[in-house]
């Protein structure tokens, strides 16, 4: 196995997955986390492992991400609270059922199991949903896990393969093959992977790299087992998720292994404050009770907020920084970091080892965001590799349509 040193910056689920994957292909891995592991967006998220088809690239990444989780599903420890509950996309009316049907066709083309439900079938699966809905789309292969313990599990595996985890170790800057710590020390390595979510643009000098916080609220109920069986999402979710509205909410419910229900979701683009916004929570809860009226009398025990790291095109950046072949990024996963963490790590390792990547890496390349800045890209000092700037006009890909 190829031997190399790697530093992963960021102890969220994406960093943990990268550390695990690199350690298992012969990397001597150090993971640096400024606080404690799984303490950022990972801790705030729902833990929904799903496939999504907002774009071909997203479909490819979520699909590989889900199948990698599925492969190891039965080996996950109990603390990960795995639940292969599946997703039902709920169609409120005939138009949404049409959309569900189109999505079913698209999924079928990619070999993803999807079952179109008429109203009767929908109520057979989820009898507590309000009457008058048109039907839905059931994705039996989708699943749910608890992100903080899943991250811990990945890191335990990384450590077992020789990785070292350094918590409370903030990084100031990262360059080609090195990181400068806040305490003045410098670590060097053959490969540096920045998986620092929202903090990523602050650590690297990549003109054009923008990762914006998209604030979300989640509420969790007291235990009320039996209210629902699947993760339920309204079909209008993507419209709401990627719309330009300053604040939007969507119906998105998740049954937890504990018998609690996680209620989402909200999106706010220009609010960087972590406070809980009463009005948004009320809208989010009202949307939830519109679909599942029985939820109205269930107590909420806790509400929190988190920030999704969002790129302008809703796809993560995975790959080397132009002009710095030993500095890679794995960041900007927005709301899908849990679902795509393993897929991200696979894509990264495949490219690092010059293996044939499982999916087309081009839509995730860093230079798609920074292409216009190519001429001015900063090349860190003392980086001889800068002569080997990867050709940005990529060779024909086997994945090209």
């Amino acid at each position: 196995m190829k031997q190399f040193d790697a530093i992963v910056v960021g102890g969220g689920i994406v960093g943990a997955a990268c550390a695990e994957a690199l350690a298992h292909v012969g990397g001597t891995v150090r993971l640096l986390e400024r606080g404690h592991i799984a303490g950022g967006a990972t801790a705030a998220g729902m833990g929904h492992v799903l496939v999504l088809d907002d774009s071909d690239a997203q479909l490819a990444l979520t699909r590989i991400g889900r199948s990698l989780w599925t492969e190891r599903w039965s080996h996950l420890p109990p603390a990960v609270e795995r639940d292969a509950c599946g997703t039902i996309w709920v169609a409120a009316d005939e138009a949404e059922l049409e959309a569900a049907s189109r999505r079913a066709t698209a999924y079928a083309a990619h070999g993803i199991e999807a079952e179109l439900l008429d109203a009767e079938a929908l109520y057979g699966h989820e009898p507590r949903l309000r009457r008058g809905l048109a039907g839905g789309l059931r994705i039996p292969g989708d699943r749910v896990l608890y992100p903080p313990t899943a991250t811990r599990h990945l890191l335990d595996r990384a450590v077992a393969a020789g990785a070292v985890i350094l918590e409370r170790t903030p990084v100031q800057r990262a360059g080609n093959g090195h990181v400068d710590l806040a305490d003045g020390n410098r670590f060097e390595a053959d490969l540096v992977v920045i998986a620092a979510g929202l903090a990523t643009p602050m650590l690297v000098d990549v003109p054009g790299l923008v990762i914006r916080p998209k604030k979300g609220h989640l509420s969790i109920t007291a235990r009320c087992p039996g209210l629902l069986r699947h993760q339920l999402i309204e079909l209008g979710y993507l419209t709401s998720a990627h719309g330009d509205e300053a604040a939007s909410v969507a119906f998105n419910l998740q049954p937890r292994a504990t018998g609690q229900i996680l209620i989402g979701s909200s999106r706010q683009l220009d609010d960087n404050e972590p406070h809980v916004d009463q009005g948004i929570v009320a809208r989010m809860l009202a949307r939830a009770t519109e679909y599942l009226p029985a939820l109205g009398n269930v107590p909420i025990v806790r509400t929190w907020t988190g920030f999704r790291p969002a790129t302008p095109d809703h796809l993560p950046v995975i790959g080397p920084v132009p002009g710095a072949p030993r500095l890679w990024l794995a960041a900007g996963h927005e709301g899908f970091g849990i679902a795509t963490a393993l897929g991200t790590a696979r894509l990264l390792v495949d490219q690092w080892l010059d293996r044939q990547p499982t999916i087309d890496p081009r839509p995730f390349r860093v230079e798609r965001l920074s292409a216009t800045h190519r001429a001015t890209a900063c090349v860190p000092r003392g980086a001889p590799e800068c002569a080997a700037v990867p050709d940005q006009d990529s060779p024909p890909s086997p994945f090209a349509a």
Binding site: P170, T221, A222, W304
Partner: protein
């Protein structure tokens, strides 16, 4: 949603809240007092079952607007009379769950009806909760808090002939022991963790407080037949299905007691959640985090005042004095507030001596074994929690404190168990640059920060989805700093 306005809103109808309400009303303000309990007087002035309100009265805030103070505790009754004379409105059975603004608080009654309270000044008198320390067997039925047991006996629970051991610290043990004797219980012993010398020092300082001295003398006379152990604490409770034996470490000896009940009191914890939600600064104190106030009991938020246990555990006399200071000062009557402040300072000196004498000894941090459940809601053991570097990590990785009580019980326990724990010998110090310090699999030093560092978020207590929808969708009252309404106004939305 119902919306109510007043000049001064008092949260809590215990000694501090009642005194604050009376004082603010005497200062010419329209005052509303909220309390989550159906009765007035808080935990300490809790009425006996025979004199308690009828349960049916407690569910409707309208009915509670004029609580039958004739059935209240004697001192609560007196304060209620004094406040009511000045037009103070009491709304009991009202649980506060959010403060979207510092002049706008949301509460829900037992029937699930939400109300919004707008006030120019808010006085927080939210009291204290019992601190539970985990030890093997503490989750057995029959093991409870001393305050909880007293409340249950007042509520009608029979203890006649029951063998009861009291353990923990402070004069509350003695007071409740006497109370239990009066109710026919067989108090088999009192295990006081403080040393005999500390308690004696405290006793001799009582000459400064003749009334306390008289109380103490009465207590000791009443308790002369009860074995009183010092340097003593429970190390294990055992039994089939409920507590039957308690093992007590007393000095270097170990003593066993056959019991029907074990009541513990490891001090009180200031209830500061609402203050912290409203943005009031807190400070570290021997009692835990307390709300920071100036000499007028004003918090770091200019229109928010705080009185009683949340500013430091001090007992009923201090609470009343602080309530008076806050009430008078909030209504601008600083001369009267100044007089009350002198009374407060005397009471505080007493409270500080009490704190020193009955400070929890570090040895109690060794009470839980690895297998001891610390978080009862989520069944999380001390071993699982100890492996985490911070409380936040403990919550994320083990669900500790994530259950229905949201850390209200295990939080203060962990704050004590993990406070300034000296690193165990051989423990790797955590440094930021030593690549050898693999921190993933174990943290022998245990959690290093207190529970209370966590952000407080609404709802403060579990609240039904529909209530939160109603509360969040109603527009906030347009509360300009306009001339105060002369009397409280009620608007139904």
């Amino acid at each position: 949603m119902r919306e109510v306005r007043c000049d001064v809103l008092v949260v809590g109808a215990g000694p501090a809240g009642l005194a604050a309400a009376a004082a603010a009303a005497e200062g010419g303000q329209s005052v509303i007092v909220l309390d989550e309990n159906p009765h007035l007087g808080g935990q300490i002035w809790r009425p006996q079952a025979a004199e308690a309100n009828q349960p049916s009265r407690s569910v409707s805030p309208r009915a509670a607007a004029a609580p039958p103070s004739a059935h209240a505790h004697r001192r609560a009754h007196a304060w209620h009379q004094r406040a009511q004379k000045r037009g103070v409105i009491f709304e009991t059975g009202m649980t506060l769950f959010d403060a979207p603004r510092t002049d706008h608080l949301l509460a829900v009654d037992a029937a699930g009806q939400a109300s919004a309270f707008s006030a120019q000044q808010v006085i927080l008198a939210t009291g204290a909760a019992e601190r539970f320390l985990p030890f093997p067997g503490w989750t057995l039925p029959g093991v409870m808090g001393v305050g909880g047991l007293q409340a249950m006996v007042k509520g009608g629970m029979a203890v006649r002939g029951k063998r009861i051991l009291l353990a923990g610290t402070g004069p509350l043990l003695l007071a409740v022991a006497a109370f239990l004797l009066d109710h026919g219980a067989h108090v088999v012993g009192i295990a006081e963790q403080a040393s005999r010398a500390a308690v004696r020092r405290f006793g001799t300082s009582l000459w400064r407080h003749p009334n306390k001295l008289v109380q103490a003398a009465r207590l000791f006379t009443r308790l002369r037949a009860v074995p009183l152990l010092h340097d003593a604490w429970p190390t294990q409770a055992e039994g089939f299905g409920r507590v039957e034996q308690v093992r007590v470490a007393a000095g270097d000896r170990c003593q066993e007691f056959d019991v029907d009940l074990l009541a513990c009191a490891f001090g009180l914890v200031p209830r500061t959640e609402l203050a912290r939600l409203m943005g009031c600064a807190t400070q570290s104190h021997i009692d835990g985090e307390i709300v920071a106030v100036d000499r007028w009991q004003r918090t770091t938020v200019a229109t928010v005042w705080c009185a009683g246990e949340p500013t430091g555990i001090g007992g009923v006399d201090l609470a009343v004095a602080e309530g008076l200071v806050a009430g008078y000062a909030a209504s601008g009557a600083f001369k009267r507030a100044g007089r009350a402040a002198r009374r407060r300072d005397r009471a505080r000196a007493f409270a500080e001596r009490l704190d020193r004498a009955y400070a929890l000894r570090p040895a109690l941090r060794a009470l839980p074994t690895d297998a001891t459940v610390v978080c009862r809601c989520e069944d999380v053991t001390w071993q699982a929690i100890r492996a985490q570097p911070t409380i936040r990590q403990a919550k994320l990785q083990t669900r500790c404190g994530m259950g229905p009580c949201q850390g209200r019980i295990c939080g203060p326990a962990l704050a004590f168990l993990t406070r300034a724990t000296p690193a165990a010998p051989g423990t790797a110090t955590q440094t930021t640059t030593r690549p050898t310090a693999a921190t993933t699999s174990s943290h022998a030093a245990g959690p290093s920060t207190g529970w209370t560092g966590d952000r407080v978020r609404p709802p403060l207590v579990p609240v039904a989805v529909n209530v939160l929808i109603g509360a969040g969708q109603a527009p906030l009252a347009n509360h300009q700093p306009s001339p105060a309404p002369s009397r409280h106004q009620e608007i139904s939305l």
